[in-house]
């Protein structure tokens, strides 16, 4: 069975729901009608544009073009992590820590995905771009949640950390509880997603594949593969970013260096 093609009329039918929601917002005076409609219009333009762009990239099948697209995605993710931080590292580190660890974890996990999917040629854009996209999004979440929680806690727990250092503990021991709780925070979303998958919701990707005509069992296998990749990516990204943060927020004399953190203006 092949995927039923959607025509503009089908989409317009679904858009009625958004307009209905906007009407409800107007009726109840929620003040969200405008934002809702704008978001809906943005969604249409953004996704159609991406679809068009990917069509070109797929058709050209050039490794360099794939690399360029991946780089643009990395840049967008780095900026997103940067803008989500309540407290940032001073200097170039403010973007470097999140960006570097996100790329590292994404490339590592992406390589696993490529091993499993074996695209041909190996950089085939039909595989690499969606794969990097979904992994990157999850790593980005894990990294930004754990980095934010670490940098918030380190300011809040300052007296406790310094008490440990003053008593002669080294920087890794003094910051271990913070790193652990930041790591947990970064991994909880993907653990919840894995345990709820299939019982509470059908994951979006699997739903899409089934609607597009794939056999449910095949779609489930794909979804399992992807969720494993995402779990690995979120964990690795959070571990890498909190490790860099521990190292950066202390110095070689085992001092706490809150001066290397800036409050968001």
């Amino acid at each position: 069975m092949s995927a039923p093609m959607l025509d503009p009329f089908d989409l317009a039918l679904a858009a009625v729901l958004v307009l209905l929601n906007a009407a409800i917002s107007l009726w109840l005076n929620l003040g969200m009608a405008r934002a809702l409609v704008i978001a809906g219009v943005r969604l249409v333009f953004q996704l159609l544009l991406v679809g068009l762009a990917l069509k070109i990239v797929f058709a050209m099948a050039s490794g360099w073009l794939v690399a360029a697209v991946v780089l643009v995605m990395f840049a967008a993710a780095s900026y997103e992590i940067y803008s989500r931080q309540e407290r940032r590292f001073a200097g170039l580190w403010r973007i470097g820590v999140g960006a570097g660890t996100t790329m590292l974890a994404t490339l590592f996990v992406g390589a696993f995905g490529m091993l499993a999917l074996r695209p041909s040629p190996w950089f085939a854009p039909q595989v690499t771009i969606p794969l990097v996209g979904i992994v990157l999004g999850n790593v980005m979440n894990g990294v930004s949640i754990s980095l934010n929680s670490f940098n918030t806690a380190i300011v809040r727990e300052r007296t406790a950390i310094e008490a440990r250092l003053a008593l002669g503990e080294d920087r890794y021991a003094a910051l271990r509880p913070l790193q652990r709780s930041a790591l947990r925070g970064g991994m909880i979303p993907i653990i919840n997603q894995m345990s709820a998958a299939g019982i509470i919701t059908l994951p979006g990707m699997m739903t899409g594949q089934i609607l597009a005509g794939m056999a449910p069992l095949e779609a489930a296998k794909y979804q399992i593969l992807i969720l494993f990749l995402l779990a690995g990516g979120a964990g690795l990204g959070a571990l890498a970013t909190t490790s860099v943060a521990v190292w950066r927020m202390t110095d070689e004399r085992d001092r706490l260096r809150l001066d290397r953190l800036q409050e968001r203006r």
């Binding site: 007296t159 406790a160 310094e162 008490a163 250092l165 003053a166 008593l167 002669g168 509880p177 085992d254």
Partner: protein, 198 residues
């Protein structure tokens, strides 16, 4: 025993200071004069210029945690990182012997930190810093929140530490306490140490 040379950080310094074993030196000075900055430099808790040595062995020649186990800073505001009191002490600590020394009931060892009063926290933070390897104590207003009786217990314990040969650098706002405890009284004025004018 402890020698500090040309310590400097922010508005504080250059400071030279010598502490002999078994003696107490007090430091007074207005709030914001840099008394805590001075103690933290000696404990190597902040980046600074100058050098401190203990028995001619310089701070920078050994790992900072090893230095701080011998030269221990006790902050004015105590910090806690475990749920219960006992977890902040070395395993095998005899609480029934240690805690009553500063007027704290022995069963406080099993209390959650939230149950402690400010004064109890302050005394427990001092107790936890008194260890066999401690050579120098850097105390930042160790009795600021205590009543007269508890202050007396703390001072008695500090005298026992002095008899053991521990050197104490005592930041205090209380001239009477400085007179009771210190062999030498200093004042931090505009970042420099001066002798206390009698």
């Amino acid at each position: 025993m402890l020698e500090a040379r040309a310590l400097r950080r922010l508005q504080v310094g250059p400071i030279d200071l010598t502490l002999a074993a078994g003696t107490c030196v007090s430091v007074a000075g207005r709030s914001g004069a840099g008394k805590s900055v001075l103690l933290r430099m000696i404990a190597d808790l902040d980046p600074h210029q100058g050098e401190v040595a203990l028995d001619r062995q310089s701070c920078s020649s050994m790992p900072a945690p090893a230095w701080r186990r011998m030269v221990t800073y006790v902050a004015a505001e105590s910090g806690w990182w475990e749920a219960k009191v006992a977890a902040h002490f070395a395993p095998g600590t005899d609480f029934s012997e240690r805690l009553p020394v500063l007027g704290i009931p022995a069963e406080a060892a099993s209390w959650p930190i939230e149950r402690l009063s400010t004064g109890e926290r302050q005394r427990l933070a001092l107790l936890r810093a008194l260890r066999a390897q401690t050579r120098v104590l850097l105390l930042d207003e160790p009795t600021s929140g205590l009543d007269a009786a508890s202050t007396g217990l703390v001072e008695a314990e500090l005298r026992r530490q002095l008899e053991r040969g521990v050197a104490i650098l005592l930041v205090t706002h209380d001239p009477a306490q400085a007179a009771r405890m210190a062999a030498r009284r200093l004042v931090l004025v505009e970042g420099r140490l001066q002798e206390h004018a009698a």
